[in-house]
Every structure is written in C-alpha cells, then in structure tokens.
C-alpha cells in the first residue's frame, strides 16, 4: 500500500509540473480531500440503519442460522474463524448483500465483519489471512444481478439491457475463484508481521497465522 500510494502521488505531481497542469491538480487534491469527508459523513445514516438492523438479526439468531448452513464452505475459506464466532454471520451477510447488488447495505455489514475478524487477529496492525480472503472475495464482487449497470444500459436505450447478466456472472465467478486461489497461494509468502516494525508484539505466534 505504501508503494502504490507514493507512486500515485509522486507520478501525479511530477506529471502536473511537466505538463503545466499544476492549478488543476492542486484543485483536484483539495476537492478530493473534502469529498472524502463528505462521503464518510454521508455514510453515517445508512451505516447506523444497517448496523442496527444487523444487530437485531444477530440477537434473533438469524445470522448464526445462515452461517451454520454455509459452514462447510466457510470453514475451508476461513479456517481461522471458529464455528460459533459472530464474524461468520457478518461475513455471510456482507457477501449476500453484494450478491444482490445492494451496495449501500454491503459496506456497513462488511465493516462489521472486519471488526469481528479483528477480534481474532493476532497482530492488530496487519491483516489476518481471514481478512485477506474476505477482502479478495468482496472486491471480486460476486454479483448475481448487476442492477446499476442494467439501469445505465436502459438509460442509454439498449434493446436488451439485461443481456450482460450471463457474461457478468461468468466473469465474476472466474475472478472470485482466482481471488480465492491467489489468497491461498500468496498467504504462505506474506509474513504475518514485519520484523523491523517494533509496534507489534513478537511473542504471539499462534492462532490465525498457522493455517496454510
């Protein structure tokens, strides 16, 4: 993340200087910064709504029920998460919201899942294997019905706006499968902690990091 972030900024700034687009680029920096805050503040209401509903679903035992149904699949993907842990329920609810294309419901549920997985994480400053798996599945987005895209195609006057559902489904399945394989392969080569960094506790070696 450090390298990517630095590269985006450094290349952008050097480019701005050489192409004489310093003014526009400076503007873009400030407007992006304030729109980031607007975005986050704008999330509060929706976030509160979904986290509230989610808590109710959890108290009623609904999430646990769904998670238990899917446990045979989940335990292979997330071997670091115990069967009855709330993380299973929140992961399932986020993936379900994503599948249905309900993106504004998916974010709060996903952040909740991260919080639940952080409880199990041995090294609080670095991502656990479960988190990497969850994020990879999430960003490869298993969408069953890409509603936003269909709506845009309708607006553009498409004769068959939904004809891309099939191709999208195949592409998204391939990318999700690739994501799962990539995480499983790469996690062996990604150290769970940076030895040069002193703010993590080197004595904790067990738990989530052991799975392969």
């Amino acid at each position: 993340m450090n390298i990517v972030w630095f590269a985006l900024l450094a290349i952008g700034i050097l480019f701005a200087v050489f192409t004489g687009r310093v003014d526009e680029t400076t503007d873009a920096a400030f407007t992006s910064a304030s729109s980031a805050v607007e975005l986050a503040i704008g999330l509060i209401g929706v976030m509160a709504l979904w986290l509230g509903i989610m808590r109710v679903a959890e108290k009623a035992g609904l999430l646990q029920f769904v998670a238990r149904l899917l446990f045979p699949v989940l335990k292979r993907l997330f071997p670091g998460i115990p069967r009855e842990h709330p993380a299973m329920g929140s992961i399932v609810s986020n993936i379900a919201a994503n599948m249905l294309g309900l993106s504004n419901a998916a974010t709060p549920l996903g952040l909740r899942a991260m919080k639940d997985m952080q409880e199990l994480n041995q090294h609080k400053k670095s991502a656990s294997n479960s988190m990497a798996m969850f994020l990879a599945i999430n960003t490869s987005s298993v969408t069953i019905i890409p509603m936003t895209v269909i709506n845009m195609r309708v607006e553009a006057g498409s004769l068959q706006p939904a004809e891309i559902v099939g191709t999208t489904l195949v592409a998204t399945c391939i990318s999700t499968l690739t994501a799962i394989i990539a995480v499983k392969l790469l996690q062996k080569y990604a150290p769970t902690q940076d030895l040069l960094e002193t703010d993590t506790d080197p004595s904790t070696e067990t738990g989530e990091d052991d799975n392969g």
């Binding site: 996903g110 990879a136 019905i145 845009m152 498409s158």
Partner: protein, 181 residues
C-alpha cells in the same frame, strides 16, 4: 418491454431491502428480542465507523484525484493501448479496465461515456458493462475496510485482489468475444 424490465430491475433492490427489514424485525419479535433497544444499540456504531474511515478515504481519494487531474492517467492509457490492441482488446474499453479498481464513480462515468458514444449494444458497450459488473473498486474497498479497524499492513491482500481484478477483466473480454463477438 424495455420499460417493464427497467421497472423490475429498479424495483427489485428496493423490494429486497424493505421485505428484508420486515422479515428480520418480524423474526426477531417472534424470538422475543427487544427490537427497538437492540436496533439503537447497533446503530450507535455507525458514527464511530464512519468517522474512523475518514483519514484513509482522504489518503486514497487525494492520491487518485491527483493522478487523474495531472494527466498521468491519460498517458498510462495511451501507453498501454497498443499492447492490448495486439491481443484484440478494444482500446475504447481500456479506460474502464484501468479506472474500475481505482474509483467507482469514475468507472460509472467511463461506462456512461462508452454507452453514449458506442451504444449499449455495441461490442465495446457490452464488454464495458460486463467489466463494470464483474469487478469492484479494489483500492477504495481495501483502504476503507482495513482502515476501519486500524490495520496498516495489508500483507498479500492488495496483490491477491489485483490478480483477481485482472482475471475478471481478461475473462470478461474472452466471454464477451465468445458470446457477442
């Protein structure tokens, strides 16, 4: 026919949300959960999470904003397009492939452009639509999700996600070629 489809798909999301909420609350009432108190207790977390992701959002959106406004993104596109055209990948769909992992609203803008310019039922239009639906805004999601729990080292997360994005884009291309080509 088109209008009907439009309604069905537009309404589907709203119906799913409302009926989902009703179902959860009704189920909880049957299980004798104090729905109101429980809802409020869960909702409290919304504020903290939203505020906690602000610094991460600023970092990622400013970097992308600068990269785009400086013209670096355009140069990257033109540098890459001969390579991709060699494989038969249409240059018009390239911005979609590159913007999609960086910015959701940017990608929507690009898709809108492509649909207007080439038509939704053209090959490029169908390919861009498929790409839009089959990948996510990886950088944004990683920054926000990891940031919300204070994680600084993503380890192999970014690499795995980018590999998956590439696989999504490449498979979108081949499937579209197969089906619509």
């Amino acid at each position: 026919m088109v209008d009907l489809l439009k309604d069905v798909f537009r309404e589907f999301g709203n119906w799913a949300i409302l009926l989902g909420i009703l179902f959860i609350l009704a189920f909880a009432m049957i299980r004798k959960v104090k729905v109101y108190e429980t809802f409020v207790e869960g909702a409290k977390e919304g504020f903290t999470i939203a505020v906690r992701i602000i610094p991460y959002l600023v970092a990622i959106l400013v970097a992308i904003g600068i990269f785009r406004a400086s013209g670096a993104m355009d140069v990257l596109f033109s540098a890459l397009s001969p390579v991709l055209q060699f494989f038969g990948f249409p240059a018009e769909a390239l911005p979609m492939a590159l913007v999609r992992p960086l910015s959701g609203s940017g990608a929507l803008g690009v898709l809108g452009d492509i649909l207007l310019e080439h038509g939704p039922d053209s090959f490029v239009g169908r390919l861009a639509s498929t790409m839009m639906g089959s990948t996510e805004t990886t950088f944004y999601v990683l920054a926000v999700y990891l940031g919300s729990v204070g994680i600084r080292k993503g380890r192999h997360t970014l690499a795995a996600c980018l590999i998956a994005d590439a696989a999504g884009i490449i498979s979108a291309f081949f499937i579209c070629k197969l089906v619509f080509g």
